[in-house]
């Protein structure tokens, strides 16, 4: 195999050399004999440098969703994240989760449930000290989709002048949303194959629930139902299932160039 690669490289560089020779203008012929000699002897071609980096599928849970529950008690979110090392610095990444909302105050009650899925890539910017290192400082992009149903089982409109307390309800409505996420984050291997990661993300809604009279309060995976863009963060604990290594090939420049 390596021989074949070597041969093809040799053939290619040979072709290059002849092409260059043909291109050569009417150079001063008596420039130097040494230069001509250098042009004729083919430059020593080195093989591509090939090494392996650890690959695998990383499966994790987003524990920041449990912190969100403290600040926004009406929300219950469960979110999982996964990524797969596709190239040395490129990861195919996805998140999926479920969200349930239950809110009740003197004005209205609200219920919703839904699921979401995002898919995209992460690119690692970190220059590694050694090939086995798996720390990440990455930027990522995702496409997100959510499907949900929501309702207001009861609401009351108070009117001070007419003295009315008007009850009402909004029936169960199905809605979906599409958005794009831009991500910046870090991941660290704290134990063998165990990672913790922190990321911040900006989510930009492309299309959302159409009902203007009663939009959902929260969209699964996105956040606020009334905002066009949402800032969010994630804190994941994940385990990497090693699934073979990823081949990295570094083209080596021919010597003397």
């Amino acid at each position: 195999m390596i021989q074949r690669i070597l041969l093809s490289i040799l053939a290619f560089s040979g072709w290059l050399a002849t092409a260059r020779a043909q291109d050569k203008p009417v150079a001063p012929p008596a420039d130097s004999a040494a230069q001509q000699a250098a042009a004729q002897t083919p430059a020593p071609v080195l093989p591509d440098s090939i090494y392996w980096v650890p690959g695998g599928i990383r499966l994790g849970v987003d524990i920041s969703r449990f912190v969100v529950k403290v600040f926004q008690p009406y929300r219950t979110d469960v979110s999982f994240a996964a990524d797969y090392r596709y190239r040395k610095d490129l990861y195919i990444a996805a998140e999926a989760g479920w969200q349930g909302v239950s809110h009740s105050d003197s004005n209205y009650t609200y219920k919703s449930s839904g699921v979401f899925l995002t898919a995209g890539v992460d690119y690692n910017f970190l220059k590694r000290q050694e090939t086995q290192e798996r720390y990440m400082f990455y930027g990522g992009i995702r496409y997100g989709f959510a499907q949900m149903s929501y309702e207001a089982p009861s609401y009351t409109i108070y009117d001070s002048y007419w003295g009315d307390k008007l009850p009402g309800s909004f029936p169960k409505t199905n809605a979906s949303a599409h958005w794009v996420e831009l991500i910046l984050g870090i991941k660290a291997e704290v134990l063998k194959n165990f990672f913790v990661g922190w990321s911040i993300r900006e989510k930009i809604k492309i299309s959302g629930p159409k009902d203007d009279a009663f939009p959902p309060i929260v969209i699964p995976g996105f956040g606020s139902g009334t905002k066009g863009s949402q800032f969010d963060f994630q804190y994941t604990i994940s385990y990497c299932i090693p699934l073979g290594d990823v081949k990295v090939r570094v083209k080596r420049e021919g010597a003397g160039k």
């Binding site: 912190v67 969100v68 403290v70 600040f71 926004q72 008690p73 009406y74 809110h103 105050d105 004005n107 209205y108 609200y110 207001a152 609401y155 009351t156 409109i157 009117d159 002048y161 007419w162 003295g163 009315d164 008007l166 009402g168 909004f170 911040i200 009279a213 009663f214 939009p215 309060i217 956040g223 606020s224 009334t226 949402q230 800032f231 969010d232 963060f233």
Partner: protein, 158 residues
């Protein structure tokens, strides 16, 4: 100090992202009908202030305005019926008028913190012509959004 700054940033990020939207109601819930007074005098129409405006809904009798000098009024339509009537007297010497409103109603979610309100769409507005000469509906949709355009303009001859 550096770590404190990083921590403070992270905490503020968390607080921004975790803002409980159901706690704060920072939007107007009132959907009042805005009526502006204008007067014809010598062929020129201009905004006018009426000296002693009294306004109440027939059947309620609680005054919304009681002998106040105002140039426009805000009145609440009944959220429980598709029509309502108001007594309007603009001056101590003038004959009172009755304004009749016919409209459709629609519940509208204002915000997670505020809950629901009623939005109206005006169908017909009729006034007796004792003191009021005529009226124009400028905007039929009555929502919680605040704008300077009056929904209705009332023209007076006096």
């Amino acid at each position: 100090m550096k770590y404190f700054l990083i921590l403070a940033t992270l905490v503020s990020i968390a607080v921004v992202a975790c803002d409980d939207e159901t706690k704060v109601c920072d939007q107007a819930l009132t959907t009042d009908t805005h009526i502006r007074f204008r007067r014809d005098s010598a062929g020129i129409t201009r905004d006018t202030t009426m000296a002693q405006v009294t306004l109440y809904a027939l059947g309620i009798r609680d005054s919304i305005y009681r002998k106040q000098a105002v140039k426009d009024i805000f009145l609440p339509l009944s959220p429980a019926a598709d029509s309502c009537r108001f007594y309007l007297k603009v001056d101590s010497a003038s004959t009172p008028d009755t304004l009749t409103f016919r409209y459709s109603r629609e519940p509208h979610f204002i915000s997670p913190g505020c809950g629901f309100s009623t939005f109206f769409t005006l169908d017909t507005v009729i006034s007796t012509t004792n003191t009021v000469q005529s009226l124009i509906i400028n905007q039929r949709a009555i929502t919680s959004s605040i704008n300077d355009t009056a929904h209705i303009t009332l023209y007076f001859g006096i």
